[in-house]
């Protein structure tokens, strides 16, 4: 297996009235072909910023300060405007956080599909685009007649399905899902995700799944990266994170969500609130909220403990608590 997406040393700054704040700090990760990777963390930890940066959709006042993002060998950061435009959606597509708001409210669904084909030079013929759109939209379980409707005529779940259908229109290599189902109820959530994963097998694309809901992630992802305060603090196969997390933050995050299949246990949660990114302390970023913090955590940045593709950044890891790490 070769890496489809390779992100190296990515840093993203937000410009504020008091200077630049680094929201994503020196992040590296990769996604293999047909693999599904999860990116988890609290709100504001920079996970959505990463998602947007991968398509260079980050909004001002965000700026990519450093790093490279390579998909199939092409560096997205070095692309010109037109190259980038062609690249987006064709190679990477994205299902946005708010299905409610990500469709143009004054344009019929059919035309929103047509735009995709037209802008990527697939077809300028309305009928042909319509035929393609019909096929797609039926895949996600929406009757084809509804292409004539405006977005406000759909329910939230249906809109999200429509967006997923659109995201698959050009058969991209990577699908980014940025908290795709947070606005939906649990039943609809699972239904939609299951459909996406069926399609993934069929169409053979990779997934970057972003959520703060770890239990959902464990179920659908091969690999998981845990983010805290702009950095990836641990990366490992989903099962490892679930059973044997090393970073105390991963442990806390895992324990703050009920598992759908596991036993109902005590949910601990994580004390304190997310780090203020304009005041980053010396040493480990998680120090103030960590129940395993030692003196060294307040003095030195934790070194990276690497094993193959997996790693964690911690002075005092959880160790082998519930089984051995493989």
């Amino acid at each position: 297996m070769s890496a489809l997406l390779e992100v190296k040393n990515l840093s993203v700054d937000y410009i504020t009235l008091n200077g630049a704040v680094r929201a994503v700090d020196d992040v590296s990760f990769s996604i293999e072909e047909e693999q599904s990777m999860g990116l988890a963390g609290e709100s504001g930890c920079g996970k959505s910023t990463i998602a947007y940066s991968l398509m260079r959709l980050h909004r001002p006042p965000a700026l990519i300060a450093d790093g490279s993002i390579k998909l199939g060998g092409r560096d997205i950061i070095k692309m010109g405007e037109e190259e980038l435009r062609q690249f987006r959606w064709d190679q990477i597509s994205m299902v946005f956080q708010s299905a409610m708001n990500c469709l143009n409210p004054v344009v019929k669904l059919e035309k929103q599909f047509f735009e995709i084909y037209k802008n990527h030079g697939i077809t300028k013929n309305r009928q042909e685009a319509r035929a393609r759109a019909e096929k797609l939209i039926e895949i996600v379980g929406i009757p084809k007649e509804r292409l004539n409707d405006y977005p406000h005529q759909f329910s939230g779940g249906m809109r999200q399905r429509a967006v997923i259908a659109m995201a698959l229109a050009l058969k991209p290599k990577l699908l980014i899902m940025d908290e795709p189902t947070t606005a939906l109820d649990t039943v609809v959530q699972r239904e939609i995700l299951q459909r996406v994963y069926e399609l993934k097998k069929e169409l053979k694309f990779s997934i970057l799944f972003i959520t703060h809901d770890l239990s959902l992630m464990m179920e659908f992802c091969d690999n998981v990266s845990i983010m805290y305060a702009g950095k990836i603090v641990e990366q490992a196969p989903a099962q490892t994170i679930l059973k044997n997390p090393q970073h105390p933050y991963s442990y806390g995050l895992k324990n703050s969500f009920p598992s759908l299949h596991g036993d109902i246990g005590y949910m601990e949660g994580i004390p304190g609130s997310p780090l203020n990114m304009s005041r980053i302390p010396r040493g480990c970023r998680f120090q103030d909220r960590c129940f395993r913090a030692q003196d060294i955590c307040f003095k030195e940045v934790p070194p990276r403990q690497q094993r193959g593709n997996d790693f964690y950044d911690c002075h005092n890891p959880m160790g082998t608590l519930t089984g051995s790490r493989n």
């Binding site: 700054d13 410009i15 504020t16 009235l17 630049a20 947007y52 398509m55 260079r56 959709l57 980050h58 909004r59 001002p60 006042p61 965000a62 700026l63 990519i64 300060a65 450093d66 950061i77 405007e81």
Partner: protein, 309 residues
């Protein structure tokens, strides 16, 4: 040492950060100084008549004289007093009305809101100038103060509408609900919780209405609505028009009142910008964006974000 302290004073910091407000305050201060301190800047009374009729500006008559031999500069200074006063009077009346009406509608909602909103909407489609004209025609010559009162009573609709929607959005915020569960009376909540959050909105509406009132006053007096014997910027324009100042090329007769109105309006407008900026985080974002463009220019390594420049 004291200078340094003064430099760090919040007021100075505010003025430094808000060039628009600074310019605005300077303009308003100038107008205030010139009009309220009129005797310091001219040796003529407002009603002074010389035997020189319609002479161009010279060393004695800085802005020339009118057809009747009145000194334009003196009239501008003294007339400005009245114009300012009328504007403030109309502003106070209109803002009081729009506050009471707007907050009542927004806060109580339901049928009260329905009726008041209907009244506001109607008030907004009935044209004001013709309405004022009818009232004035029936009353005969109208003194400047009465003009102020009339303008105040006919220009509350816009402010009421803005304040209504603002009240509604504040009302729906959680802290009002929490106050409600604590068992405070509706009226107490209105004054203790809602009003403080409306202050910037109200002051913005106040300044906006003063601008409007001064404009409306000049307009009404220009078309002969007011008392031509009173000295205001509007009646000065009216008299200049009536004595064919434009046709005979006596531009200086218009200069004083026109400049006064423009400077006053601009000053208030600039101040209003800053009030909006204080209360509206979106406008603050504009300054962040300015920093963003700077950072982007400075560091070529920054990659173009997803937006066009």
């Amino acid at each position: 040492m004291t200078l340094k302290k003064l430099d760090n004073h919040p007021l100075f910091k505010f003025l430094r950060d808000n060039p628009k407000a600074t310019v605005g305050f300077i303009l308003i201060f100038t107008i205030m100084l010139l009009t309220l301190g009129a005797p310091m800047f001219t040796r003529f009374e407002a009603g002074f008549r010389s035997d020189q009729y319609r002479v161009a500006p010279n060393s004695v008559f800085i802005l020339g004289t009118t057809q009747l031999g009145r000194d334009v500069w003196a009239q501008t200074l003294y007339g400005g007093r009245t114009s300012l006063l009328v504007g403030i009077l109309a502003g106070v009346i209109a803002v009081t009305l729009s506050t009471v009406i707007g907050i009542t509608a927004g806060y109580f909602g339901g049928i009260v809101d329905g009726i008041i909103t209907m009244v506001i909407n109607i008030a907004m489609v009935i044209p004001q100038i013709p309405l004022l004209l009818i009232i004035a025609a029936l009353m005969g010559g109208v003194s400047p103060m009465l003009i102020g009162v009339l303008i105040g009573f006919t220009s509350w609709a816009w402010g009421a509408r803005v304040l209504r929607s603002q009240t509604m959005s504040i009302r729906n915020r959680e802290f009002i609900y929490s106050a409600e569960t604590l068992g405070e009376t509706k009226l107490r909540r209105l004054f203790a919780e809602v009003m403080p959050n409306m202050l910037s909105m109200m002051s913005s509406a106040f300044v906006g209405t003063i601008i409007y009132a001064i404009m409306a006053q000049a307009t009404l007096e220009y078309i002969g609505f007011g008392d031509p014997l009173s000295v205001t910027w509007g009646t000065m324009l009216y008299n200049a028009q009536n004595t064919a100042a434009l046709q005979t090329g006596a531009w200086w007769e218009l200069l004083g009142p026109c400049l006064g109105l423009i400077v006053l309006g601009s000053g208030l407008t600039l101040i209003n910008f800053s009030i909006d900026e204080l209360s509206n985080p979106k406008l603050k974002a504009q300054r962040i964006m300015a920093g963003y463009y700077k950072a982007k220019k400075a560091e070529i390594t920054y990659t173009k974000a997803g937006e066009t420049e």
